[in-house]
Symmetry: D2
Subunit: 380 residues, 4 copies
């Protein structure tokens, strides 16, 4: 009999941003319930977080090893089906590995691992595990992003020539990491964030989006990175040139110090027949432009959408946002997992997996290498 | 010990729009779980809907009377705490009355009742019941609407002079109700919708918004209503002039036949010091304008917000939408109810209740009366 | 041999807003040169203004009577061809009458006269004079307004059902007329402005636009006018319901006290097949919406325009503004006049004339009458 | 006695785009009159163009040498004061040189010359001539661009860190140059355009804008240029990284093949205190963003502008466009020239001159060099 999926969470204690987002995203479509968690680094804190989430104390664990082992022992009809990993980057690999190896499916935040080597190793682990794995490149969950992708795939834009992408934030314009801001603190710390600062935090979303929409891999890049914040070690701003497959070119600007910008992630894709533009802060519109026809504006639930883009939950004009897009990643993962549980197969599930995660790490490493060499071209 | 609230639902079977919205809105903040429902007019259909929602069969009821009576008999730690009523308008009053009289709290969709008499009666029932009651004027749940309200309340705009509101949809531009569209069908049917068509469906949201933001009651109106769709009985378009308390004036345009409009609900409020503009389709911005200062754009999570407006769940630049705004009505209701259960009191809970519901019906009736008399002035 | 047209100006001395606009509008297309003027109420001031415009002193007159009489005596190849009248409203009728009766063509600012009686009389005078006459309802000069009109005329929108128009300004939100602001002062003075304040200043533009785009006359109106500014006599805000020919309905909101609004003139027209939206502050876009197709955005110089709308002077993406739209009224008038001079005829010249001027006065008078009678319906 | 300035024109015959723009721009402010021209390559065509402009036949010359020599012989009170040069790029240097050396002031379109060597030589010629010289980087004429520049100069944004600029057009997305389109034809022809295609046509505007607003010179660039159009020799698309003075970084994307884009020139400048964003297609707004304050939107004629930005001709809300911005370059040049004629001096005239022109050529040459070397860094 069909049932809700049971989710355990690693990380995401009280005050966490992304943990809360994962929970809301998992909850909105009524397919998943949170049943347990190792929310914090101590049992006490973890229990406090769990209680606030109305979890029973015995399902709040002091660390992820304990959670995985104890849940494993619970009866099948009680124990979690999958783990959501929402810790800082340096804590992605080990919990993921252990969860997979103990038979649990995994949803992991991005970037998929702390180092490139971990990502390479994880690819093998995922494949050998036979378990489902998703990495939450959540911006691919917006209906209008899916429409852009479908338009490219169907040839509406013709051959892709040019991609322009920006991901601009301003919250690091001042020394926010010195004000006790937890989420800022780990992001600027190479021991928790990895070799990329803004690279791993936001540029990898931009990199993933280029490939998701165009279907073209990045072959070569130049990266001119900057660390504007005094005392910082990692990049908080970057300008990149990219060469894609089939002669397409791309350009990327990302920043955490772009004062006053909130989450200005935007992409423009130009083919030889048409073009599309999408802005994350105005996500319910897709601007399309054409050689001989008027500009058109597509909307979720509106006219002329491809089936892949019909993921909006409510009628046209009722805006969906960030949580809903995130939820669509969960929904597609959950749909896949429910099918697996029921012994069914599903065609091309539409959520990012280990391949996308590995590409992200390769991108980060190539960018850092290019930048170290005065922004020379580096092949990916 | 704190626990999630248990919700039962009346209406909202498979294929329902608003029932699904209520469930998602109730689910997003992890405070409420759906435990039972009388989703459809037959037990069979109700069970089918319930199963798709992963409910046990014995909590899927064939009608609301059965649900209320049987839930009443369940142990206190199992039975539903409150009922969400998401049926067409003619089915609001009786389930609400019965639920309240059997000790259940109620969340009801708008307009609160089918007739004005019912609304008047319901006001007394709610007051006598001692139970909580919310009517889902959901657009008041947007953070930037709350900011607008707080700005008026704090005198930032000075004395309110002028309000301009529109609520434009286009889905009834063609004879959609003749195409088997269930949600269209009941809306054009006076036996299920009431004496107002667009009036009850959308204009009452506009009416509620005027009062919610300005704090001013509507005193007098002129309504020039039109039925453009052939064969329709109820209004599908309307133009209204309104006189508010304290000499303020308002103007309203609503339509269900405004071709190509999706859900273009927008309000502009002008005081003698400043003004605000808010557009439902771009809900994460509040445009403010001033005598001697530059225009400003406020955003959820951004700078210069009043505490009442800080209801956004995620950082600035991560758009929230319709479901989140709807969820805020549920969250505020749930917070109030949780406090009640724990014997606590809460100051001025911010969700619409029977007073707002009754005002809505008075508005609908006055509009119809004005229109019948060649759009003469009618006092409310 | 073709030559530039020679323009004389009445009003528009140094510091004038609208006189300067007329001169720039007349000058931009290189078809008209300013040759003389009675710019101010004294010869001295008039000469000062004329000198600043590089006019010879002997073509700067102390009053309009002198100008008309003296220019009449000049050789045909020297004297002005037409007069531009840019005085306050109470000074429109007499100069126009005298100019026409002395053989000069006339371009006059709106509203066409001070009183309705004058407008009625002027209609006869214009017809009898055999001279060309234009009234500068300048907003009709925007390319995208012409496109909207052509789309309606060609049936693209189907039968027109609903029109929504706003014209919002904020410069009278404070007592600006008491600060020595000349342009404000005459506008609030019934002796110079007429019986309408905002009505004659801005609402008549909105009234003209409704008819220009839809081709439908206004048959009946309700007007709820307000005077918010202390000590003012005339309306500075108004809300109107309008019934048009063929069962169409319209609604109008105008204001001079809408704090922070600059010149927010906007119109939406809904037919049974499609709709258009145009905003004066973003004039180079026409938003169109459809039953079964995506929204489209048309631009001057872009794809899919009607010939009537191809009045943009420069390629797509190079914005034209208020002066260019104003200039198009002059250009169409000048083209007509040049044709006349060369003995040619021209089909349906596209500029507003005495008929539009007279409709404007009827609208103002009907609005005032409705308002005096507690906003009852008044036929036009 | 003050008089209008007399302008001669080289190039800009019938059907020319930019010649017409120069004439309108020169005409709008009533300070300049066109008195003569060598509009085309033959006397016959030149006269035809001149007649359409209402010029006497004897002031329409068959080539620029003739014009300069003959005008030189005319009486001082008749002959042209300055020459506007609006020919393709390869025809900038010689007419400019000859005009300056014969005592005429010059306004020249951009890029200032065909080759870098010419630009270097021209710098000396201009300085030695004692004549005024302007190059029409016309986008600097927009009021909100001047406001951005003033804000940087006054330190409002703090130290500049990052600049992001795009200049996107789509008219070369197809092989428009093979369709008999004259303006397209010379632009893709290295013999008339120079070593840069899009570089000289549009990227140099972007380059100039960076320096105009920030006051920072470009020190080093990487350019990855592409020629997408089959059979083309010159670049029609480019992606650049730029390093500016004082550690600031910039990124530039330009294109002539960005399908459906009209003239999407946009710049974002980020300091450590605030940021500004300006879009040429929406030129009457300046978006500003701040660390601790709400976003603000500035408008011409609105509140909080610097004196340098008060160049708008009409009140707030009455849009000005491309022609007006262009006209401001002419106005500032004319104001300077009128002062010179009257023996007055003027402080820092605000129009682009030979220095800006020379920087443009250096930028084009460095970009081409970088691109030839697989996009390596090249110092400017």
């Amino acid at each position: 009999m069909p049932r809700k999926l049971r989710m355990g969470m690693i990380g995401g204690g009280l005050g966490s941003f992304i943990g809360d987002v994962h929970r809301k995203a998992a909850g909105i479509d009524n397919m998943i319930e949170l049943v347990c968690g190792a929310f914090s680094s101590t049992a006490e804190k973890s229990i406090a977080s769990g209680k606030a989430l109305f979890l029973p104390e015995d399902r709040c664990y002091g660390n992820y090893e304990e959670m995985i082992l104890k849940e494993k022992e619970l009866p099948e009809e009680v124990r979690m089906d999958f783990v959501a990993i929402v810790t800082p980057n340096h804590m992605h690999f080990h919990p993921t590995k252990m969860a997979l190896e103990h038979g649990f499916h995994v949803v992991c935040d991005k970037p998929v691992t702390f180092t490139l080597d971990e990502a390479i190793e994880l690819e093998t682990i995922v494949k050998n595990s036979g378990k489902l794995f998703a990495v939450t490149y959540n911006y691919t969950g917006y209906p209008m992003v899916k429409q852009a992708r479908a338009m490219v795939a169907n040839g509406d834009l013709g051959n892709i020539r040019k991609v322009q992408v920006q991901y601009l934030q301003g919250w690091f314009a001042t020394a926010v990491e010195q004000t006790g801001h937890k989420q800022a603190a780990w992001r600027v710390d190479p021991k928790r964030s990895g070799i990329g600062g803004g690279l791993g935090d936001i540029a990898t979303h931009a990199e993933n989006m280029i490939t998701y929409i165009t279907g073209l891999n990045i072959e070569e890049i130049v990266a001119d990175l900057t660390t504007f914040g005094k005392g910082r070690i990692l990049d908080d701003d970057g300008h990149l040139l990219l060469r894609l497959e089939k002669g397409a070119k791309a350009i990327m600007s990302y920043s955490q110090i772009a004062v006053g910008e909130e989450n200005s992630f935007a992409i423009r894709v130009y083919g030889d027949k048409g073009s599309v533009e999408w802005l994350q802060e105005e996500p319910n519109k897709l601007f399309t432009r054409w050689v001989d026809e008027p500009k058109r504006v597509l909307t979720p639930g509106g006219n002329d959408l491809y089936p892949e883009a019909i993921t909006h939950r409510i009628p046209a004009g009722h805006p969906e946002g960030y949580i809903e897009a995130f939820a669509t990643v969960y929904k597609n993962f959950a749909t896949h997992l429910m099918a697996e549980i029921q012994g069914k197969t599903i065609d091309k599930p539409d959520y990012p997996s280990i391949e996308e995660g590995l590409k992200g790490l390769k991108f980060i490493y190539a960018s850092v290498e290019s930048n170290k060499n005065n922004a020379k071209w580096v092949k990916i």
